[in-house]
Symmetry: C3
Subunit: 427 residues, 3 copies
């Protein structure tokens, strides 16, 4: 009997170890998505603004990690500290500064409630915050001041994101209402899209983008292999994003769930790409690569709110509709003169909304009304608070670069170097 007790403890430890390892691998894949956004955006801007968008991307990732450690995580998961959002502010970063983790005794005594390392959870969550913020950098590209952007990053990753994250994943009111958002079509993608929209509305369009009389000038990205690479990195990393959101893999039910999530995530992206490519071909007469890439990303965003309930065929169609929507939205944004160089507001904001609503298609326990409430709450909280922060930054130090710097490219004025100093310009 003693041997049996000992063996039971060993099995509990093994389960904990497997779940933790799974969580770390999935988290590392999400971290890798930072490279995806970086390549995607650097491929879709012009050469003269490339070094700056690279700097923004690596900078925002770093700031997001530090801010979430210092305050964000405590706000989003107040947990044992004191049970409240504002209360936990008094214990800033307390959980992480000491970095203790569960002991074997605690885990075994918890009867399987404590099934992975708390720090592995922090790691997984922190890379999600960075993802949300990455969405913003693309939309405001080519004209926003670097340090104003970083200032906004501090506020979004430390406060705005964690508050709505708490509403859902921290056990707050949206969770209690029955709002469903498995891996964050709303909490992550719509959040990023809403913050980006607020910034873009204040910032205005790039010089020359919209002419008099409804003219729209296409400003093509300078390096499409990098944009494609970025999309494929995001596709790859999304297995961690959605697959890790199951939170557990150490039994048959969870292992099957994670498998279905992988299959559905992959097929939703495939569906989004194919549908967007065909629509672009029919509408514009050409197989527009950038639309195809945004279609794949739209498929991924669309399935993120519920990658577990649909069958693979349904997942393909949910992603496919995302792909159609993103083409319509990108064209529509230009009609509205909302200038989003990489299509981030369409991909993450508009299709994020579609993802939240699509949950009702496959998940019987979802309520359309509650999904709409969640959608609106996240959108307005993030949009309004972001608008106020952008306004404050604008008043304090400005958010838009000088016109001459915009013309010559922000690489020189903000970073003091060029991304491709040796390659002659065709313009």
């Amino acid at each position: 009997m003693n041997d049996l007790t000992q063996l039971t403890g060993q099995v509990t430890e093994l389960r904990y170890a497997l779940d933790t390892f799974y969580f770390l691998v999935m988290g590392a894949l999400v971290m890798w998505m930072a490279a995806g956004f970086t390549m995607l955006e650097s491929g879709l801007v012009r050469a003269k603004n490339t070094a700056e968008i690279l700097t923004k991307n690596v900078g925002l990732y770093s700031i997001a990690c530090i801010m979430y450690m210092l305050v964000g995580y405590s706000i989003m998961y107040p947990g044992d500290f004191d049970g409240g959002v504002f209360g936990s502010l008094t214990t800033i970063g307390s959980g992480l500064l000491t970095s203790t983790d569960y002991s074997a005794t605690e885990v075994i005594a918890s009867n399987g409630e404590t099934y992975y390392s708390g720090l592995s959870d922090f790691f997984f969550q922190v890379v999600f915050v960075a993802t949300a913020m990455s969405i913003v950098s693309g939309a405001v590209a080519e004209r926003m001041k670097l340090w104003s952007f970083f200032l906004f990053t501090v506020v979004l990753t430390g406060f705005i994101y964690p508050v709505q994250g708490f509403w859902k994943w921290g056990g707050g009111w949206l969770q209690q209402l029955g709002f469903l958002d498995f891996a964050g079509s709303g909490v992550v993608h719509l959040c990023g899209g809403a913050a980006a929209l607020a910034g873009v509305l204040l910032l205005g369009a790039r010089k020359g983008k919209y002419g008099p009389g409804g003219q729209i000038k296409a400003i093509p990205g300078c390096n499409l292999p990098l944009a494609t690479l970025g999309t494929l990195i995001l596709w790859f990393g999304w297995f961690g994003f959605n697959g890790g959101s199951q939170l557990k893999i150490s039994n048959i039910g969870d292992a099957n769930a994670v498998s279905l999530i992988f299959v559905n995530t992959n097929l939703a992206a495939a569906g989004g790409l194919v549908f967007a490519l065909i629509l672009a071909r029919l509408w514009f007469g050409k197989a527009d690569l950038t639309m195809a890439l945004n279609g794949a990303l739209a498929g991924l965003v669309a399935i993120t709110a519920e990658p577990l309930a649909p069958t693979p065929l349904t997942a393909t169609l949910i992603g496919g509709i995302g792909g159609l929507l993103v083409v319509l939205s990108i064209v529509g944004m230009d009609k509205l003169r909302i200038d989003d160089p990489v299509g981030a507001i369409s991909v993450h904001g508009v299709v994020g909304m579609w993802g939240l609503l699509a949950v009702v298609i496959s998940n019987e326990s979802a309520s359309l009304g509650v999904q709409v409430i969640g959608l609106l709450s996240i959108f307005f909280w993030v949009f309004i608070s972001s608008l106020l922060v952008w306004l404050a930054i604008k008043r304090a130090i400005g958010i838009r670069v000088d016109q001459e710097h915009e013309y010559e490219g922000v690489d020189i004025s903000e970073c003091g170097l060029e991304a491709y100093p040796e390659f002659a310009s065709a313009e």
Copy 2:
């Protein structure tokens, strides 16, 4: 005793979970190979054809995933449905449309026969199909019509590949004959190479590639860092390709096997690269980077049919011979005026054959005769059926772009955009 039964069940669940997780991670690495092919090919074509090859790569991956879900998987693994290839066509996609997976009761009752999620198996298999198809896009680059290529993709990934896949991995006649092909030197790589050869023979060479009197014009790739990146992505992803083909890792024997596969896969690539680089240096007088890259890939293809039986030193040599062969083959193809812009037929077709034959070096249970039968069966099935499909497509809508579009680059005519719109051409 009750506790012991319960614990035994938990251990069975853990094993199932570990094997499933391993399978998903390996599958994700194989999916990532899609980025490898995409970067490799976009680096080895000319700038004016880059956006189109990017579109082909992301498009074929998506189509492959959808077609394999709809029909391919049922053909290749008819399994429980009705035990036959044609019979299973009546249950198109049936297994996946419902997406049920094994229950704990089933798994425990199977006595370890059912050791991972069926959906994780689908995920692993589907990324293999995409790999086979990726081989084709490189060989027909710079001159094939985009939508003709996609049409062929539908047929290869939905029918041609799964039929020969069934012969070996689905338990068909090649399997019963004792044909050995661990991870697919034949089923995946030779299959892709044979389909590519059929396409290239019908398509003809790029304009200007071969002059009168045996002249051969070198058409260098436009972006070698991307080609190198693609090669390293493929090298990395190949750990999933070969390592996952062990199918199981949850006991000491399998864990040791996967470790040896990782070591051998890595060393075969290293051997292929070094041998190809030295041969290029001796023959051409220069350390030709593209030959070195193709050497590494050749090493990987060569070891894929049997990465488990050889010692690490033998694996290095099997890969090394692959590296020598690929240099000879690439030069030879040009003599035969078979125009393959990225060397895909040599890397995957010719060296795939070498891999199948090399099994007899290290695996005592292999029969040279059976390996030859398997090699010829796969080659002729794929080559002839592909030729017929290419011919049908040629008759219906044509397969080659107009000469003026080929001259100006297919990016504009097929995709309506340029891959590098801002960089001036040196030509």
Copy 3:
């Protein structure tokens, strides 16, 4: 009772399997760092030297793998063979040529001492050797002969690295003295930095880098998106580098440890990037992207000697100081006219030293004196032996390319091709 024994054996097998799988995944991430160095270096050199640096990177990785299999591993881990460094030379590669691994009986009999596949250990170790060598290629870029570099690679990876690796990780005198270097700030990074410094001192600066009267000409990298991608690949791969160095994950204590290592590794990089970016902004007036990238890498190098003892906040600061140091060091190297095109000596050598010393901040069992002894031993062993080898190669075949080849770029003279043949030069 029989059932219990059997189940205990199964649990032991599962533990072994999980630890092996973890080790292989972490190793694959470290292998992927080869792509990181390749992209980083190809982004930071000039276009005309890009193909050659790509060739060096893929070549050195391959040579490192082969040499470490043949002799390096036996020197570093003499293990069961005969217990001595020189003795094991007589059994060159013996462990790997036969490639046997542990049997279930051995593992179960070892009482948990033997907890993962020996071949998975070799795989993990071999990718570390390649990392050390990758550091050198960047520092000697744009002017060193290709084959001289490869010759040095043979010696460093087969002998110089394994000898000092044995001192610490093989159980040698530094280990017995209590020297602490968790994942290799010293054994890997300082080793690479010292070998690079020896090469650079013999080689001299690039033509035109330093003018008369203390003039320093900035020679910007030609492709900053690739440099950024390389940095993010390294960041991602570093989770394997540090996370795998725990060597075990199958119980709660080790799972918690690996989680903390992931968190600390990530935050140290973030700290390094932010601190370096702010210092660059204050000092140079611009947010210098290359300094930010080197800051992130410096943060990673700094935390590598002890990623487990610090709290996350301390890890951020240790990385942050690394980021400040690297900016100072890069500027200082130029004052000393030590020409290091990518800053490798600063990032890996100087900050590697900081990492070794920083162990005493968080780990109470560390002794500053012993850390200094270890630092000096590694530095002088590698520096002096490398200098002798570089000297011997210089005498035999020369190490520096002809001046005219340096002027026209080493791509043509060494590799016979160009990295970007179609893109016009702006110069």
